[in-house]
Symmetry: C2
DNA sequence: CCATATTTTTAGATTAAATCTAATTATAGA
DNA sequence: TCTATAATTAGATTTAATCTAAAAATATGG
C-alpha cells in the first residue's frame, strides 16, 4: 500500500532538479513546479493557470503549456487523458501506475503498478507492451481517526 | 476466443431494430447504422461523415453527431475515448469489453470482458464498479492461411 | 561589463472536435 | 389533408490545445 511520496520541495531544490534534467530554471517554471510537483494532484492546464493567476505576477496560457510539455520531455512529469473528461491531466508520479476515479467526487487516485495484476486469457494475437487502466467506483471512508 | 459477431443487416432489419429501440428509422439513421453497425470498426464521427459523403445524397455533420448520440441513448451503440487520440470512437459492441491498440497500425481490437481478469491487491479503499482498459502493443501475424 | 546569440515568455490567432442555434424539412397521426 | 411533432441542416459557437512572431530574459565569451 503506497505511502504518499514526499512532495515538499523548496524553490532551490526545484531549481537544482530542473538543471539536473537539462531545463533552465526560470521563475515561471519554478512556480509551475511548485504547484504540479508539490501541491497539486492530477491538475489540468486550467488548474495550473488558475493557480498561477493567484500566485505569480503574470503568466500566459502558452507558458503553462510550454512548461508542462518541457517537463514531460525532461521526464519530470507525465500526462494522462481519461475517458470521462476531455482535459489532459498532469502527474508528477512518473512511475508505472494506474488510476481510480471516485465517481462521486471526480477525484483521481493513483494505484501502484504492483497493486494491479492484469491477466489476459485466450489471446495469442497480442504482444502487450503496456496497459492503461482506469477503475471507476466509490471511495470507502476509513473508519477510526 | 470471441468469434466476430454477425454484422450483416439489411435496411429493413436495421429499420425494425431502430423501431424496437424507440428510434424513428429515418433515411439518415438507417444509412449511418449500415455503416456503424455493419461495416465499420470503431469509427470516428469523421469516419462516419466521410462514409456518408460517399454513400448518401447529403448529410450534415450535426446529423452524424445527433444520430450517434441517439443510438447511444437507445442502447445500440457505445462511445469510447482513448488516451492516444482526441477523437471519440463509436462501437457497436455494447457488451462489457476492453481494447487492444496495435501501435504500428493504430487499429483498435476488442477484447472480451471474460478474457481479462483484473486483480487489485492491497487496496481496501475502493469499491470498483467498472474498469476501462487499453492494452497497447503489437499484433502478431497468425501463421498459416 | 558589454555585446550578441540563444532561449523563454507572451498576447493573440488558429485549429480541431463537438455542441448549439434557429430555420427548414420530413414524418406521424388525427 | 391539416397540423403538431420530430429530425435535419448550415453555420455559429465552445473548448482544449497549439501556433505565431514579437518582446523579454538569459547565457556566453571577449
Ligand atoms: Mn498522481
Ligand atoms: Mn468494436
Ligand atoms: Zn497518477
Ligand atoms: Zn470495442
Amino acid at each position: 500500500m503506497a505511502e504518499p511520496r514526499n512532495r515538499c520541495l523548496s524553490p532551490q531544490e526545484i531549481s537544482r532538479r530542473l538543471e539536473r534534467h537539462g531545463v533552465q530554471p526560470t521563475a515561471q517554471r519554478i512556480a509551475i513546479c511548485q504547484y504540479v510537483l508539490c501541491e497539486a494532484e492530477h491538475p489540468t492546464a486550467d488548474d495550473i493557470k488558475q493557480w498561477a493567476d493567484k500566485n505569480f505576477p503574470k503568466m500566459s496560457r502558452a507558458t503553462v503549456y510550454n512548461t508542462v510539455n518541457t517537463l514531460i520531455e525532461a521526464g519530470l512529469l507525465r500526462e494522462f487523458r481519461f475517458p470521462h473528461d476531455s482535459k489532459t491531466v498532469y502527474d508528477d508520479n512518473i512511475s508505472d501506475h494506474y488510476h481510480f476515479l471516485d465517481e462521486t467526487t471526480g477525484e483521481i487516485i493513483d494505484i501502484d503498478g504492483k497493486d494491479i495484476e492484469i491477466k489476459l486469457r485466450n489471446e495469442q494475437r497480442f504482444i502487450v507492451k503496456n496497459a492503461e487502466v482506469l477503475l471507476r467506483g466509490k471511495l470507502v471512508k476509513k473508519k477510526g481517526v
